[in-house]
Symmetry: C2
Subunit: 189 residues, 2 copies
């Protein structure tokens, strides 16, 4: 997606060979017009999959997911990172390890919002090691719903997540796929 | 806003005389079409204020804010609930007490995203005791930007937050203003 790659080139900050900061348009400050275009692109790529729900994770997955949901005319569910202990029997949960933050988070979704006849599109802002996407996929599997695919805004293609998910048979659609952040420069596949 | 009040009546769950659960369209599962209409309504109400930025708080404020930002063609910033300790000099912070969760959260925004020539619209999903809105307003004040007003999706008008904010001189626009949740029934002003 050219508009997104241009934005990453112009406004992304390469902090190291593995860290790209995009807090000026995706992770902290959000560019709504760009999110709208991202929503249209995800919708175009997955329009024939019979999607009934979008599943993402708080917080940075919400904006691109809601714009995609608007295009596909389906609800968006965001997994929460802290579960309400009183509701434990009513939740699908999984554990997600963040290499960036070096901590594990339990993520959870209320059982009432995903059913076995749903066809779910998983969306997230970043794909690096794939832990968040795997955790979301585990939640969908527990609900016995179908997984239509995984939509990623920015994939760090030089890390293992995308490869692992594709080997597991998931359709992964990344709108910007980075091949390298070496020497302070963003390169795409 | 009639569409929102209808949705609250139909899909909101009154858990007690003070607790309304709207996790089927706002707080956990999100209705993108409703968020789009909410965005249009906030934009209509604040269109003459010269707004340059929208400020909200993760996670449930993001969807209505991004839809409003799309209409007003301005960026959205979401305050984070945990601050990155390494960046403390680069953040505007304030402390927000949640009566629901009975805990305090430090919220913060990167200084680079709000300047003294900005005119900021604060948006949040709920207004009850007003702690989140006050915390967001404190952050804007620290940046010396102007506060255009506060847009709230659902105000619990029987609690003190809205009254306090209006007495402080803020323009508060609530799209649904609840007068009572007594006897399991939602009533609006």
């Amino acid at each position: 997606m050219n508009l997104l790659m241009k934005k990453i080139k112009e406004d992304g900050e390469v902090l190291s060979d593995s860290v790209l900061k995009v807090d000026s348009f995706l992770n902290h400050q959000i560019d709504p017009e760009l999110m709208s275009e991202i929503g249209k692109e995800f919708a175009r790529r997955f329009q024939d999959e019979g999607i009934t729900k979008i599943l993402t994770i708080e917080s940075s997955g919400i904006a691109p997911s809601v714009m995609t949901g608007l295009q596909l005319n389906v609800p968006v569910i965001f997994a929460r990172k802290r579960k309400s202990l009183t509701l434990i029997n009513e939740l699908y949960s999984s554990t997600v390890y963040s290499f960036t933050k070096q901590e594990s988070n339990e993520i959870s979704v209320s059982k009432k919002f995903i059913n076995d006849d749903d066809c779910v599109l998983i969306i997230d802002d970043f794909l690096a090691n794939g832990q968040a996407a795997i955790g979301l996929a585990e939640i969908v599997k527990k609900s016995k719903a179908k997984i239509a695919g995984i939509g990623i805004v920015i994939e760090k293609g030089f890390q293992e997540g995308g490869k692992n998910l594709r080997e597991q048979g998931f359709r992964v659609e990344s709108l910007a796929r980075i091949s390298s952040l070496n020497n302070g420069e963003v390169s795409f596949y």
